[in-house]
Structures are given as C-alpha cells and as structure tokens.
Symmetry: C2
C-alpha cells in the first residue's frame, strides 16, 4: 500500500467508495466522475502504476476480476457495448498512478467519442516497427 495513493486508501477502506466487487487480487468500484452510468474501475490490490509491473498471480487475478466485473456490468445494465481501457501515463489520461481498468457501458448517441488522427505509415515503416517491437519481447 502507498499511503499517498487515493486508490490504495479506498481499498483499505479509509475513503468511502461504491464497491461492486473484491477478491484476493482485485478491487472494483464506481468511478466517482463517471462518463456513463455504470462506469466502473477495476484495479489490482497491489500498488503498481503500469501493467508491465504486475507480477505473477496479480496479473491473472486482475484479468479474472476484470472479466467478471465486465460480465456483471453487461448483465446488470445491458448496454449496447463496452469500452474497457487502461490509461498509462499522464499524456494517456492517467490521473491516479495506481493501475486501473475502466469499464464504460456504451449506448448509441451517448456522446463518448474516441478522436484519433489519421496516421499514414509507409510500407517499410510497418516492417521496421514490427521488428523493433518483436525484438524486445
């Protein structure tokens, strides 16, 4: 636990939250600034900032909890779709530096929009980038 972390304090019960699920590895509660009704956060109990830092069972535990909660949100609210996302780094929209996945129920005309530039990569650039990444894995 990190004493300065809002999410660690929520998990510890020091700060109230609208909890929807918890187990040995993960904790889930409603986002207090929702972008949709039912916007839920699922996070590992262990304080890490990035997905790459999760070790061993904490990773599969988080995946299992994410799946359970996503299925629960679908059953409970019957949305037309779901966005499930992790933002890593301030530039990507991460506000609290404790890894968390957002589950956002989606409906037609809800105003949520992912605005993306058109990125044109040359054919050889695809080859170069895929090689760069695959070499590091």
């Amino acid at each position: 636990m990190s004493v300065d972390c809002l999410f660690c304090r929520i998990i510890a019960g020091e700060i109230p939250s609208y909890n929807v699920y918890e187990d040995e590895f993960a904790f889930a509660f409603l986002d207090i600034n929702p972008i949709a009704r039912g916007h839920t956060l699922v996070l590992p109990r262990v304080h890490v900032t990035k997905l790459a830092e999760l070790e061993g069972e904490a990773l599969s535990g988080l995946a299992a909890a994410l799946q359970r909660v996503a299925a629960g949100v679908e059953k409970a609210l019957e949305p037309e779709g779901l966005n499930i996302f992790i933002n890593q780094g301030e530039v990507a929209g991460q506000v609290i530096p404790h890894l968390h996945a957002h589950i956002v129920p989606r409906e037609k005309g809800d105003g949520v929009r992912f605005e993306t530039p058109v990125v044109k990569l040359a054919e050889e650039e695809f080859g170069k980038v895929s090689e760069l990444i695959s070499k590091t894995i």
Copy 2:
C-alpha cells in the same frame, strides 16, 4: 477458427500481417490503420467476440501476452504513455468481431483524444448502480 473472420485468417497465416508476437494463446500484430506509430493489436487465438466469453487459460494467456507486448512496445518505442483498450460492440468502436486489445503509444500533442460527456449521477444513483452490478457478479 471462424472462416469469415479477418483476424482468424491472419492468425492462420492466410492474410499477411506485421506480426510482433505469438504464443499458444495469443497473437499480436500491427494495426494496419494505426492511430499512432506502433499501434498494436493483441488477440486470443480462439474466436470470441467479448472478454466475458474467454474461458480458462485463454484468459490468463491473453493477459500475459498483453502485458508482454505492452512492455515490448514501451521498450522499443519509449512513448510518454500508453492507452490499452478493448472495444466491445459496434457502438463502442469494435469493427472486427474477434476480441482484440489495442495498444496505442501516446505522445504529447499527438491528436488522440477521448471525448467524454459529463454525466451527473445523483448520490442515490451511485448506490443503486453499484448494488445492481455487485448482485450479478
């Protein structure tokens, strides 16, 4: 394998792709319509549409691959941040109905933007929604 599925055909090697990783459970390649340099897709070999449908080792296998590939993208390209997301359903932006996670390297001023409405929920609505969801899990 679903013979009508573009991603199943890519996994089977019937359609070329810029692969970055593969193992028993998962497959990763560059998105051919990238929203950033290094935009990578990670998917289960098994053809399912939604996260809730993945069973047993296929789930932990996908999580492990997603973590490895995300770490690889970070090492290879050193972006300022990452967005990792799954879109489920057409309304949420899912184009190919084979579950896949996007990994998008982020940099300041890259033009990627998640536009979200302000949703104001009454205090009692938070309680109601969290109860609704938690009951189904």
